[in-house]
Amino acid sequence: MITTALFLAFAALLVGCSLMVILHRNPVTSALFLVLAFCSLAGIYLLLQAEFLAMVQVIVYAGAIMVLFLFVIMYLNLKRDVEDGMPHVLRRFVGWGIGALLLIEGAVYFGRRWALGATLPEPAPTVGNTAAIGQILYSRYLFPFEITSVLLIVAILGAVRIVRGRVAPVTPPEGSS
C-alpha cells in the first residue's frame, strides 16, 4: 500500500517536472525542474529495489552534470531562450516531427514488449544489488566498460586540447610559488 502510494507520488512528480522542464521560459528554472525530475526518478528506482542505480542517478546526474549545466547557464547569464537563425515555423515543424516520430516509436516498441497489465520482472531476491552490478560489470560487460572509459579519456583530452589552444596561459602574480 505504501509502495503504491509512493510510486504514484514519484511518478506524478516526475511527469510534472519533466513537463515543466520544456514548458518554463527561464532556463535556470527549467534546469532545476530537471534536477527534481532526476531525484523523483531515483525514488522510482528505489521502489524497484535498484538502490545502487538510484544513488548513482542522484550523484552523477543531479549532483554533477546538472551543476555544470547550471554553471554554464549562469555564466552566460541566459535570461530567455536564445533565438538562433532558424525561422520559427521551420523550428516548430521540426519539433513536432521529431516528437511524433518518438511517440510512434515508443507506442510500437512498448506495445509489443510490455503491454499494459503485463507483470514486471521479479525484483532481485536479496536486498543489495551493488555487488551483483560490480560482478557483472567486471566480467560479462568488461569490454564495453573499458571501451567507455577509453572514450571518456579521449573526450577529456580533446576538451583540454581545445581550451589550451584558445586561452593564453595565466601567469600567477609576483611572489607566488
Binding site: 535556470v28 534536477v35 549532483g63 554533477a64 551543476v67 555544470l68 547550471l70 549562469m74 555564466y75 551493488t130
Partner: protein
C-alpha cells in the same frame, strides 16, 4: 477501538511510526547541537585570540544561541530588486535539508535504537546528499542579482565539484577494506582497529576535502570578504541568512559524523556497555568538530589558483594512487 488497535499493530504502521519518532528526536537533537556549535565556535575563537567570547547572556553566555536566533527572527527581511524571488526563497532551505537528511544514515550506537535506518548504500546516500549541497550556494548567489553574490556562487560550485571527486575517491579505500556500503557494516569492520590507521592517506584527504565541501577556512573562498563582500549570502538578511549559517554548521556536524564512522571506528570503544557506546561516538565527534574550529582560526585563506591546483593536481592523483595501493594489498592478502 478494535480497528485502531489493528491499525496500531499493522507492521507498516509500526515501521512508519517508529521511523518518524526517531527522525523527530535526531532532528531536534542535531539542531540543538548545531546552535551550540555556533556558541562553541565563538567561545573557542575568543580564547584563541585571548578574549573571553560571549559571556553576557545567561551563565557563561550559554543562552547566547537563543538570543541570536530571536534576533535573527525579528530582523527586517530584505529582497533585492530584480532577484528571482522563488529561487531566492528556496536556496537557504536547500542549504539545511541535505545536511540534516545525512543524519538519517549515521549509526550513533550499536543497536537499532541509535539510528534512523541502516541502508545498504548509506555511504552513497551521503555522497549524493553532499553533491546536492552545492545547489544552495550556487542558486543563492545567482538569484540575488548581485555581482559579488554571483561570483561567490560560481566560485563555490567550481570548488565543490573539484573537491567532491577527491572526497568520493578517498572513501573507496575504506570500502575496499570493509567490503560494504552500509555505514553499520563499516563500523563493525573496525572493531579491532580504526580505518584511520590502515588508511591514513585517505583520512587526511577526506578531512581536507571536508573543509572545502563545507566552505570553511582555509577554503572559504566563496565568502572571501576582502574581495567579495560576503560572497553568495551578501543579499540575505534575517532568518534566511540564519539558515545559511545553520546549514554551514549542520554540514560541519554531518561531515564529522561521517568521518567518525568511516575512519575513527564509530561507536567502537572499550569499557562501556552497548547502551552507552554512543558516548564514544560523541567523544570522537567532539574532537573532530573542535579540530574544524581550531583550523578555521589558525590558517589563512588560500588563493583561488592554489585551491584549484591542490584539488586537481595533488588530492586527486594521491587519492587514485591510494586506491591502487589499497586494492593491491587487499588482493595480495586475499591470495595468501
Amino acid at each position: 477501538m478494535s480497528q485502531l488497535a489493528a491499525l496500531w499493530s499493522h507492521p507498516d504502521f509500526q515501521f512508519v511510526f517508529w521511523a518518524l519518532v526517531k527522525i523527530l528526536i535526531i532532528l531536534h537533537a542535531m539542531l540543538g547541537v548545531v546552535s551550540y556549535l555556533i556558541y562553541a565556535e565563538r567561545k573557542v575563537a575568543g580564547h584563541m585570540q585571548a578574549r573571553t567570547g560571549p559571556n553576557r547572556v545567561g551563565p557563561m553566555g550559554l543562552l547566547q544561541p537563543a538570543a541570536d536566533v530571536l534576533k535573527l527572527f525579528f530582523k527586517e527581511e530584505f529582497i533585492p530588486d530584480g532577484a528571482n524571488k522563488v529561487i531566492f526563497h528556496i536556496a537557504p532551505m536547500l542549504a539545511v535539508i541535505p545536511a540534516l537528511v545525512t543524519f538519517s544514515v549515521v549509526p550513533f550506537g550499536p543497536t537499532d535504537a541509535f539510528r534512523v535506518t541502516d541502508i545498504n548504500v548509506g555511504l552513497l546516500l551521503f555522497l549524493a546528499l553532499s553533491s546536492l549541497g552545492v545547489y544552495s550556494i550556487t542558486l543563492g548567489g545567482w538569484s540575488s542579482n548581485n555581482k559579488y553574490a554571483l561570483l561567490g556562487g560560481l566560485r563555490s560550485s567550481a570548488q565543490m565539484i573539484s573537491y567532491e571527486l577527491a572526497m568520493g575517491l578517498s572513501t573507496i579505500g575504506v570500502l575496499l577494506l570493509s567490503g560494504s556500503l552500509s555505514l553499520v557494516d563499516i563500523v563493525h569492520a573496525q572493531e579491532k582497529m580504526w580505518f584511520a590507521v590502515y588508511q591514513p592517506v585517505a583520512f587526511v584527504i577526506f578531512m581536507i576535502t571536508a573543509f572545502a565541501e563545507t566552505n570553511r577556512a582555509p577554503f572559504d573562498l566563496p565568502e572571501a570578504e576582502a574581495e567579495l563582500v560576503a560572497g553568495f549570502h551578501t543579499e540575505y538578511s534575517s532568518m534566511k541568512f540564519g539558515l545559511f549559517f545553520l546549514g554551514e554548521f549542520a554540514n560541519v556536524l554531518s561531515i564529522c559524523c561521517i568521518a567518525t564512522t568511516l575512519f575513527l571506528g564509530g561507536w567502537n570503544g572499550p569499557w562501556l556497555p552497548d547502551s552507552l557506546k554512543f558516548l564514544w561516538f560523541f567523544a570522537k565527534l567532539s574532537v573532530l568538530v573542535f579540530f574544524f574550529i581550531w583550523v578555521r582560526w589558525t590558517y589563512p585563506r588560500l588563493r583561488y589558483d592554489q585551491l584549484m591546483d591542490l584539488g586537481w593536481k595533488v588530492l586527486l592523483p594521491v587519492s587514485i594512487l591510494n586506491i591502487l595501493v589499497t586494492a593491491l594489498v587487499v588482493f595480495w592478502r586475499g591470495q595468501g
